[in-house]
């Protein structure tokens, strides 16, 4: 059974500064500052949060299963997103989006929401307490935090097939979507003493499949928490990617992944290139393949069980061909409308071809190449060592969310999302998923909502009675299905009466 590829992106932002340098307090200030700015008082509802349920169906597999945190700042926005403190980071979880471009639009809106939050928080803080936010995934000292992608997939595809089919993409896609970093920061990463790596995250992966996200990180995460009807849907939770400043990278990263999941539902896992014999070694060694920017570095290849040899480029090329077959056979309407699918396939192809021809052609679309260009240029100009603090500073400041400080902005990255599109997405939910019902309910009836989460809203009547409205299908609750309902109900009480009829 093929399923519309509903997509969401969760981003934990790096945070520095704040009163007493406490990152949890600083993150709380960020979230609360934005909540006050937009007068949001909706609490997150933890009913239905089960991050410890494993997609492989067994319990007790993992000692380090994540627990739900209930105490910190946590709110729901009119665009359908969740803004909250996750561990010691402010996190923006985008609303459910119906296409890769929409997911990119809501990711960019998240950057702007964080920027407004930072400005609002800093207005009330002293000069030496100013908070700074970074859209990145590591601190260069062995601490990593995630950018997670979520895709709605059919329950009919066995989880083992998802693992088998998607591993080649998960280990090789960093070639196009890695955000880059100078040096290494884990014991195994440092072992080969790389000058620069394609991915921020690759060296943190230690397992192929597993439930954890904070330690012993697996390339394929098994969290089985669909936030939807579990009989029909699976939410594939992907934790191996980097946060991108390049909008094209975000778009093609989620778009290529969505197309390949569609191809998996259509053809099964046999249509995919074979996975490497050691996926963990593959993701780490592909991260160190600098031959794309400097011929003096050796090319990196991995081997499959049958003895075949793949570079990350060869994997991407084969996966593109498979996606192209899927587009030709089905039109890929489950991923996006036709013109967007064409844009997606063209951009993906241009990144692949550009790398082979002259990687500087794609320095305006691939984050790690944009960053490498700056770092290597600076190194050459001043005759610096690869471990110079100046180079590490450039690599970090690339991710600063403040436009005047952001080095990514100076790289003149190609933009797909206009400022108008981003502005709209800060306050208005996507119209074509259940995020519309959540966002509009929050906008119209905030005084009558006790709490909300991904798959339900709890309304409270003036007498104080609570009533939960479930939203178990992410493809429903759209503008088309609910706008007349909203138009006719000026209060949540009226809405609930109508829903009961």
């Amino acid at each position: 059974m093929a399923i519309e590829k509903i997509i969401g992106i969760e981003t934990e932002y790096g945070i520095a500064g704040g009163p007493s340098g406490d990152p949890i307090f600083a993150s709380t200030l960020i979230v609360n500052a934005y909540a006050q700015l937009v007068k949001s008082s909706i609490r997150w509802d933890f009913e239905g949060e089960h991050p410890d349920v494993d997609a492989r169906g067994q319990k007790g597999l993992n000692q380090f299963a994540p627990a739900v945190e209930r105490t910190v700042a946590n709110t729901v926005l009119t665009n359908g997103a969740r803004l909250y403190v996750d561990h010691a980071h402010p996190e923006y979880s985008s609303p459910e989006c119906r296409s890769p471009l929409a997911a990119t639009q809501y990711d960019v809106a998240g950057e702007m929401i964080m920027l407004q939050a930072q400005r609002a928080a800093n207005e009330i803080l002293g000069q030496n307490e100013q908070i700074r936010l970074y859209k990145n995934n590591s601190d260069g000292k062995g601490n990593s935090y995630g950018t997670h992608e979520n895709f709605l997939v059919s329950r009919t595809v066995p989880f083992t097939e998802i693992v088998r089919a998607m591993l080649p993409h998960f280990v090789s896609r960093q070639l196009l979507f890695g955000a880059g970093k100078v040096g290494a920061e884990t014991d195994t990463g440092r072992f080969s003493n790389p000058h620069f790596q394609l991915s921020q995250r690759a060296e943190f992966f230690e397992e192929v499949v597993g439930l954890e996200t904070t330690m012993k990180r697996p390339i394929v995460n098994t969290r089985d928490e669909p936030h939807a009807d579990a009989e029909r849907f699976r939410r594939l939770h992907i934790i191996n990617g980097d946060a991108n400043l390049s909008q094209v990278a975000t778009f093609v990263k989620v778009g290529s992944t969505a197309l390949l999941l569609g191809a998996l539902e259509e053809y099964g896992c046999e249509a995919f290139p074979p996975p490497p014999t050691s996926p963990v070694a593959a993701i780490r060694s592909f991260a160190q393949d600098l031959s794309w920017v400097d011929e003096t570095y050796p090319s990196v290849y991995v081997h499959t069980e049958s003895g075949a040899r793949f570079s990350s480029w060869e994997y991407q090329n084969e996966l593109w061909l498979l996606a192209q077959r899927y587009v030709e056979d089905t039109g890929a309407a489950l991923v996006a409308e036709h013109s967007e699918v064409v844009l997606l396939m063209t951009q993906w192809r241009e990144l692949i071809d550009g790398l082979r021809k002259d990687s500087m052609i794609v320095a305006n679309r691939i984050d790690w190449i944009a960053k490498y260009r700056m770092v290597a240029g600076f190194r050459e100009r001043y005759g610096l060592d690869w471990n110079s603090a100046k180079l590490a500073a450039i690599a970090l400041q690339y991710h600063d969310i403040v436009p005047e400080k952001s080095l990514a902005r100076m790289a003149k990255l190609f933009e797909l999302i206009t400022p108008e599109m981003a502005n709209q997405a800060m306050t208005e939910a996507p119209t074509d998923t259940r995020a519309y019902f959540r966002g509009e309910s929050v906008r119209r009836y905030s005084n009558e909502i006790a709490s909300a989460n991904w798959d339900s809203i709890v309304f409270k009547s003036s007498e104080g009675a609570l009533q939960r409205v479930p939203m178990m299908d992410p493809t429903r609750g759209t503008m088309e299905l609910t706008s007349s309902l909203f138009g006719e109900c000026s209060t949540a009480t009226e809405l609930l009466e109508r829903l009961e009829r």
Binding site: G14, H87, H89, G140, K141, H148, G377, A389, A392, M410
Partner: protein, 64 residues
């Protein structure tokens, strides 16, 4: 003779166009170099003043 001329002409054309390509890629390389220099100048202006301290102080708790 005519055949030879044609070959000769073809060669001349080819070598001219080769030179053109070299000129073009030379000009392109110069342009890329100039763009990179400009970018590095900009970075010099906005890069955190004390790089060592900036990098050292950026310590995160793991997340996810």
């Amino acid at each position: 003779m005519a055949e030879q001329e044609r070959v000769q002409k073809h060669r001349t054309e080819k070598s001219e166009s080769d030179n053109e390509m070299v000129d073009q890629s030379g000009a392109k390389a110069d342009k890329l170099k100039a763009e990179l220099d400009e970018l590095l100048d900009e970075i010099d202006i906005v890069l955190e003043e004390n790089a060592e301290e900036f990098v050292r102080n950026y310590v995160q708790k793991g997340g996810e």
